[in-house]
Amino acid sequence: MMSSSDLDFSPLGIGESAQQLSRPSLSYWQDAWLRLKANRRALFSLVLVIALLLFTLVGPWLWRADPAVQDLDQISQPPGVDRSALIVEPYQPWSVGEVAGSGLRLAEPATTQAVRLVWEALPDAHGHRVYRNLFPVGPERAYGIPRAEFFDNSTLSFEDRLDIKPGTYYYTLVALNADGSLSEQTAALTVNAQRVTTLAEAVERGLIASQADAQVGDAIELTLHPLGTDYLGRDMLARLMAGARVSLFIGIGAPLCFVLFGVLFGSVAGFVGGKVDSVMMRFADFVVALPFLLFMILFKIAFGIGPGESGVLPMLVALVLLMWPATARLVRGQILQIREQGYISASQLLGAKTHYLILRHMLPNTLGVVLVTLTFAIPSAIFTEAFLSFIGMGVAPPTPSWGSMSNEGIKTMLTTPHELIFPAVLISITVLAFNLLGDGLRDALDARMRNRE
């Protein structure tokens, strides 16, 4: 403490202000915004959230591919592979002729139209079986899928036309014993299939305007899919955007609804108090006790999904039905606290009516807490949607959502991991962004919950 001097008590000059503010007066929200801005992690997550919203809302305008259209030339295509296709003559049945060379070999260059193999009979063979695999055959001799079987040596050629995609295939020819069992005699061949198309196909797919625009031997570019395609040949980027709309609609819509309901329920219970309060809160306690995921699934089937429906709405309703009590409890606690505050009594003394008290004093003072709850509810709703769609209880199949896309992607995880990685990464980023934003908002808005670090 400084000792007071004469200066401290000098009279004010005319026009001088009696008080001086050391810093500008800030409203609650201005103050919160300043704190949020100072938090680098929160700001980063805010940018992420805005980017995700842009991806969902503006994305489909920029990338206009239809998420439901199948591109049958490019099925399960990873992003960034060669899209050029050679135009060839339409498919002609194969008449096996003389082929130079020996052993298991190609009769003509392998294409996605057909892989034509010829071979000489293996030693002591009583027939042959042809296998195809996507991976090199190791010592465990997993040959892949059997493609053909010949029980004598009269046929020494095989034409494979089953679902050939551009890429590498590992063929194995295994000699058969007299009883039809596999012998130790094998021959292997690695085949690189080249993507080909015909003029008629190219026109049909809209790659060229008419058959006169290109000729056999030309190479043309297939449709661009920046993030590749899924197992039905649908554009991943377009599907991710459409899926984002579903996932974020549930992820943001459901929390908005149940937080609103929770605020209503909690503020009524907290304000009315007494018997009504205890009955209302007992009811909320029971809903909290319900095993969440089991009842999500139960409600989902109880509401039912008709043919042609996406199942988005039942999931939203089920989420709202099960998740409101947490907010209601929180708001009730807040209201109970605020009710005892001095400014409420002061306002009452000045003649404020009940609805004015609630709308003007109580709800605005709970808003910070509610906003934080909302931000934390969003990732958990997104998680729930993804989880349910993943086990096949969520959004019905043709409608894409990140969860159902992951579910489809996990089946081909070994061969085409991009179908799982993209939706999974998007779910993770979204959940991360909202979690960090929630942390930041809590630090900025709610003085009591602030991290005591």
């Binding site: 995921l293 089991l294 998680f383 993943f390 086990i391």
Partner: protein, 310 residues
């Protein structure tokens, strides 16, 4: 103490009744017909089948029968697997889920407490940042992705070593359980780590820890006697709900790792609309979870007497 336990038990029974009732009426609201699924039947056969399952009685009576059966611990007979009792199904598949769940809870609790304490001790230094980075990953990445990626990783490790270090899927031995249990416990472990960290930070700054230091106690003793003991209390409270999260989280892990647990069976039953199995498993799971929460509450009451007073 006894009145506290009694009160929680009564609350628990009412909650289970609420769950059973909600399940019953939700299932009766399900569109479709459990008997329409496979064969077409003549009205006479249909009436017989309905009488066999008691579906011809009014809803109120069905509800009373259902409740009285529940009280006797009888969940009924499966609709899709003829003459198989739901009790049998639970008896066969629940131990698998429970084993997996217990292992996962152990992983989660041990890991959460250990990592949380470490982050608090090394606050704002490299170990803290490293562990918290993984914690954020654990909270943000969905369990099915973790399951799939770890399975993929295991395939890679197995094939590069040329031996089966751990089986990729299936059930039977302890080596089958390790990876699924770890994956199952991961989300909870991340959550517990966060909780333990903030609770530990609070304890580190407390007066009694300063006193202990001033007395000249060795750091290890302060850590085990003063810090860990007090910091662990809030972690125990959330163990109850965590067990719930882990048990239901088992659906995905059981699906991905092909484990014959009750969760996978429940998902199957839902897909086939096997009404009695769905109702039975839901009520069973619900009762189990409610019971677990009560057990944890009572345990907590023993450890921290303040809880009983409330």
């Amino acid at each position: 103490m006894w009145s506290f336990i009694l009160k929680r038990l009564v609350q628990g029974v009412i909650t289970v009744w609420f769950i059973a009732t909600a399940t019953f009426f939700a299932m009766h609201n399900v569109p479709g017909d459990p008997l329409l699924n496979d064969r077409a039947m003549t009205p006479a056969i249909r009436a017989n089948v309905e009488a066999k399952y008691g579906l011809d009685k009014p809803l109120g009576e069905q509800y009373v029968i259902y409740l009285s059966n529940l009280v006797r611990g009888d969940f009924g007979i499966s609709f899709t697997q003829e003459n198989r009792e739901v009790n049998d199904i639970i008896r066969e598949h629940f131990p698998v889920s429970a084993t997996l769940g217990i292992l996962a809870v152990l992983f989660a609790a041990a890991g959460g407490v250990l990592w949380g304490a470490l982050t608090a001790l090394y606050r704002n230094r490299l170990p803290d940042y490293l562990i918290m980075f993984f914690v954020i990953l654990g909270i943000s990445v969905p369990s099915f992705v973790v399951a799939a990626v770890s399975q993929l990783g295991l395939v890679g490790v197995n094939s590069s070593l040329g031996i089966t270090l751990l089986p990729v899927a299936g059930w039977g031995t302890l080596s089958h359980m390790l990876l699924p249990a770890l994956v199952l416990g991961l989300g909870t472990m991340a959550y517990l780590t966060r909780l333990m960290r903030s609770s530990m930070l609070e304890v580190i700054g407390s007066d009694y820890v300063r006193t202990a230091k001033a007395k000249g106690l060795p750091a290890a003793r302060i850590f085990s006697r003063h810090q860990l003991r007090n910091a662990i209390l809030p972690v125990i409270t959330v163990l109850g709900p965590s067990i719930a999260a882990i048990t239901t989280g088992g659906f995905v892990v059981e699906l991905v790792f092909a484990i014959p647990g009750l969760g996978r069976y429940f998902v199957q039953a839902v897909q086939q609309l096997d009404y009695t199995v769905i109702m039975g498993t839901t009520v069973f799971y619900g009762a189990f979870l409610v019971f677990m929460v009560i057990v944890v509450d009572v345990l907590y009451g023993f450890i921290d007497p303040r809880v009983r007073m409330k």
